[in-house]
């Protein structure tokens, strides 16, 4: 019973924290641009406003367009339930491993890409085509990075990987882990639509990837999609934080350990948010056809991670 309470609390926490994380990244970027910026909780206001607005749907759009936001949100939320944000020993740990998380996120991407095509707008088609290109090329990196982690942990289950690194702290600094971290970090930038792959702040349709697909969405549908996007960002941050630097994750279901886990999660998210904000200030967006080069760099990193894990055994 208690473990289920933790499970629910964790899911609620992740869902609730996600918009705030996007707000923090935006606020940090504003500060780095010498602006005062909106407060970190601004995305909550935006979501509330969008849920209260009217929806305008294209005449050419089918039922798929109206179904897609729910599928996108549900599959991202389902993935969120599988990621160990606070505790390791969880009833849901066995339901899905890291691969399931990746495939659930791919399901969300596919539905968003289909919804981009549905109204027949050229922008939507463009965004959809680009998003699937990036997703397809990011896939092997993710799989190989998972493979590298599984090689040292002996499992692709998230709880198992975390527990294994907790038990053997030296593993966190092994070259296999470090290379897999670097590879997944690049993939995280690509998958969650950050610079240098996609610019979350762009207003120019021709440079868009994610934004171009959702140009048609408004009101509550847009709110669901934006929330899901924020959740995806948080999931990647939490995976990077908890899989590679697992200290702080609660092993036992005690209030003290959980409080520590919450604090460490917030610190990890903040650190990664700062890194991402600094990076987004420093680098320019890559041309679309340079993105595959970046992704092949991450692929090679993941390949090296697997190789070094094999050699280190």
């Amino acid at each position: 019973m208690e473990s289920w309470a933790i499970e629910v609390a964790q899911a609620a926490l992740v869902l609730g924290l996600a918009p705030g994380l996007v707000g923090v990244v935006r606020w940090l970027k504003a500060r780095l641009q010498s602006r005062r910026g909106a407060p970190p909780w601004q995305p909550y206001y935006e979501l509330r406003k969008l849920f209260g607005k009217e929806v305008v749907v294209s005449r050419n759009a089918s039922w798929l367009f109206r179904l897609a936001p729910y599928v996108v949100f549900a599959s991202t939320a389902a993935a969120a339930c599988l990621v160990p944000a606070l505790a390791v020993e969880r009833p849901l740990d066995g339901v899905g491993d890291l691969l399931v998380v990746v495939y659930l996120l791919l399901l969300a991407t596919v539905f968003l890409a289909l919804a981009g095509l549905d109204p027949g707008s050229a922008f939507g088609g463009m965004g959809s085509s680009r998003e699937m290109t990036v997703a397809a090329l990011a896939e092997p990196t993710v799989a190989l990075a998972i493979f590298a982690l599984a090689l040292s942990a002996g499992s692709t289950n998230l709880g198992q990987i975390v527990a294994r690194t907790l038990g053997d702290p030296a593993a966190a600094l092994s070259p296999g882990h470090l290379l897999a971290f670097a590879a997944l970090f690049i993939v995280m930038l690509a998958e969650s639509g950050r610079l240098p792959v996609d610019n979350p702040g762009t207003h120019l349709e021709l440079t868009m990837i994610h934004e171009a697909m959702v140009l048609e969405y408004s009101g509550r549908y847009l709110a669901l999609i934006e929330w899901a996007a924020a959740l995806k960002l948080l999931l990647f941050f939490a995976l990077l934080g908890n899989l590679f630097v697992p200290w702080g994750v609660a092993v036992a279901a005690e209030p003290g350990a959980l409080a520590l886990a919450l604090a460490s999660l917030v610190v990890k998210l903040a650190v990664i948010a700062i890194v991402v904000a600094l990076l987004e200030t420093r680098v320019a967006k890559l041309r679309l056809f340079r993105v595959p080069e970046l992704l092949s760099v991450s692929f090679v990193l993941a390949l090296l991670a697997v190789t070094s894990s094999f050699l280190a055994r």
Binding site: K53, Y70, L99, G120, M126, S129, A150, G154
Partner: protein, 681 residues
């Protein structure tokens, strides 16, 4: 039903197919011909499926021998064990909906092509496919195999008036007979000099054969059966022949017949040859990975819906072979638990692919039936006019894209997990092979998702790109029903994975040094691969997805504003939207065409016509882009050219005189007698 009914069921299956074939040829009205042909096929498919289930549940193989028939090769011998039963179920599960679909689909053929011939060939095709997996000696196997090839060739040739159909048929006929020659050689090499050719005797002969001979037989089998399965580089006939056939036949060829190539390799390598060296598995993994990648890369570039599906068959067969290869590798490394998992994953993907590819081909058939076109650049917007087809095709596309909670996701997950036990192994070959396999598997999965977003999105969404697509109509009831059955199967095979996987484990257990009892692969609703601690439950993931969706819908319904207004698509305020503004199939694949330009070597040709007064007034723009067909151009074209040259030289001995030909016969006969005397003496 007890095991005693098995022979009766077998008889019933053969009788139903034969009755269907005979009934189709009988002088009935066209409508009745269609129904009779389908009834025979469905009856045979159901009987076959029940027979296979009885054998699987009873655990006792069915044995039927008719020594009087085919007495030269040891008589007609049939035996159905677990492995055969699995493939017999695959035949039945796809054949019944496909035959049902054919009732409505072939109505359009009335008066153009022979419905009688089509119905009879369909039944014979299904019968021979069922008998291939029942064959228990070399001669029975080879004869049914060849009969299967020939009947499917006639089915491919149904729309014989089209030039590309004839070309496709010729490719198919040539490739399948090269394959037959290789398989024949493999069997002949295995037959002991003083023994018969029953599978039991072959098994015994293989156990004592030299490693070199076993290796040669294996390679010949891989080339022969791999050609049928569509392994790169023997796949070139497949994207030609499968789309040329009527759609329900395409579904059977892509969904089922290619799997019999897999069956052939499993029967030979796992059953007859037994434990082999590690390079067997590595070879299959390499070929599988190459097929998966090349198949999906060409599928992505395809604008013809059915050709896209055919290339994706090459891809999925590659995935199955990665699993089979991993299984053989683990068998030779003496890791039975991992081997059982890998082989079970391969079988799971084989049946899944049969179901969703069958479904997708039937969906593509409905599209062609409704619009008369398979070119995606002329389709679009069909989700409104063909709602049933669209929903079913979407299920198929999600399944083949490996997305939860459908069946493709489960088998791809299992394939990934079956590559992981390589961790424990210290054999030198394993590390690079497995890393390659994981990378190829993942890239394939991502690209397949992109290809099927394109296939579904361009065909069914947005505005119709041509008048025919705009005037489309939904398919008749029989066609819709067939698609719904297969779509439901896609969901059930995904959700019921925890019930299905142990059965598959039981099928592969006992072969080639594997333990008689498969290790436990599941625990309650969880799939639990042995060794690794990873686990997954597709049914619970599906429940979670549905709960999250329902929760989100309810919360939005209760808390959010309800207003909804229908307006125009936003296009930056342009005056109107036309289908010309939409992304096309070619445009959708353009980024990936550029990324993989080294492989595709796209040639682009842009012709702009301008008004004579000013070059700023463009009158028409024509854009053509083609990609290099590597295998056809650099492998097959020189080969075919060489053969044609030799054939021209051999024409010298063709005088046209009957006396000369008789003389050749006598010389050849004498030469053969001399050789056989020298051999035995």
């Amino acid at each position: 039903m007890t095991a005693e009914t098995a022979p009766l069921l077998c008889l019933l299956m053969v009788a139903a197919y034969l009755a269907g074939a005979a009934g189709a040829l009988a002088p009935l009205g066209p409508r009745l011909t269609r129904i009779v042909a389908a009834a025979g096929a469905i009856g045979g498919a159901v009987a076959g499926t029940v027979l296979a289930t009885v054998v699987l549940v009873g655990g006792r193989p069915l044995v039927v021998t008719v020594p009087a028939l085919l007495s030269v090769g040891g008589g007609l011998a049939l035996r159905l064990d677990g492995l055969g039963a699995f493939f017999l179920i695959l035949v039945g599960v796809v054949a019944a909906p496909a035959a049902l679909y054919g009732v409505g689909y072939t109505a359009a053929y009335q008066g153009r092509y022979s419905l009688r011939w089509l119905g009879a060939m369909l039944n014979l095709f299904l019968l021979t496919m069922s008998l291939v997996v029942l064959a228990d000696n070399a001669l029975t196997f080879l004869l049914t195999w060849e009969a299967m090839s020939l009947t499917s060739y006639f089915l491919v040739m149904t729309e014989h008036e089209r030039a590309d159909t004839v070309a496709a048929g010729s490719w198919y006929l040539a490739m399948t007979h090269v394959g037959l020659a290789l398989i024949l050689t493999a069997f002949v090499l295995l037959i002991p000099p003083d023994g018969g050719a029953s599978f039991a005797e072959l098994r015994g002969a293989a156990a004592t054969a030299s490693p070199a001979l076993r290796g040669l037989v294996f390679v010949l089998a891989v080339l022969g059966f791999g050609g049928k399965a569509g392994l790169v580089p023997l796949h070139v006939w497949l994207p030609r022949a499968h789309p040329a056939a009527p759609s329900h036949v395409s579904a059977l060829m892509s969904g089922v017949m290619v799997k019999l190539g897999v069956y052939g390799i499993l029967r030979l390598a796992l059953d007859l040859l037994g434990v082999g060296p590690a390079w067997w598995g590595a070879l299959l993994i390499g070929l599988g990975a190459a097929s998966a990648l090349i198949g999906v890369l060409y599928a992505l570039m395809e604008d013809d819906l059915k050709r896209l599906l055919a290339y994706s068959t090459v891809e999925n067969v590659g995935l199955v072979f990665i699993g089979v290869g991993a299984g053989l590798l683990f068998v030779s490394l003496r890791e039975p638990a991992a081997a059982v998992l890998a082989l079970a994953a391969a079988l799971y993907h084989a049946v899944n692919h049969g179901v969703f590819k069958g479904l997708l081909f039937l969906g593509a058939g409905s599209v062609a039936h409704a619009t008369g076109s398979r070119d995606m650049n002329r389709l679009g917007g069909l989700i409104r006019t063909l709602p049933w087809t669209a929903a079913c095709f979407l299920v198929g596309a999600l399944s083949i894209g490996g997305l939860p909670p459908f069946n493709g996701f489960v088998s791809e997950w299992l394939l990934f997990q079956s590559l992981l036990p390589a961790i424990g192994s210290t054999a030198p070959l394993v590390a690079p092979v497995m890393t390659l396999a994981v990378g190829a598997l993942a890239l394939t999965a991502g690209l397949a998702a992109a290809a099927f977003v394109k296939a579904f999105g361009i065909t069914f969404l947005a505005l119709p790109r041509s008048a025919e697509a705009g005037a489309a109509h939904e398919a008749p009831l029989t066609m819709r029903l067939a698609m719904v059955i297969l779509a439901v199967l896609c969901a059930l095979l995904g959700l019921g994975a925890a019930l299905i996987l142990p059965v598959l484990g039981g099928i592969v257990a006992g072969h080639a040094g594997l333990p008689r009892l498969a290790p436990p692969l599941t625990a309650g609703p969880l799939l639990l691969p042995p060794g690794g601690a990873a686990s997954m439950s597709p049914s619970l993931v599906a429940i979670g997805l549905l709960l999250a969706m329902g929760g989100a819908w309810l919360a939005v319904r209760l808390l959010a504003a309800r207003g909804l207004r229908v307006g125009e698509t936003w296009g930056c305020g342009r005056l109107g939207q036309t289908p010309r503004m939409e992304y096309t199939s070619t445009a959708y694949a353009e980024p990936l065409r550029r990324v993989f330009a080294e492989l595709y070597r796209p040639t682009e040709d842009l012709a702009i016509e301008v008004h004579p007064e000013s070059r700023y007034f463009v009158q028409s723009i024509a854009y053509r882009s083609e990609i290099v067909p590597w295998f056809e151009r650099y492998l097959y074209a020189p080969l075919v050219g060489r053969i044609a040259a030799w054939a021209a030289r051999a024409r010298v001995i063709q005088s046209g005189s009957a006396h000369a030909y008789l003389a050749y016969l006598v010389v050849a006969l004498l030469a053969l007698l001399a050789i056989s005397l020298a051999w035995s003496g």
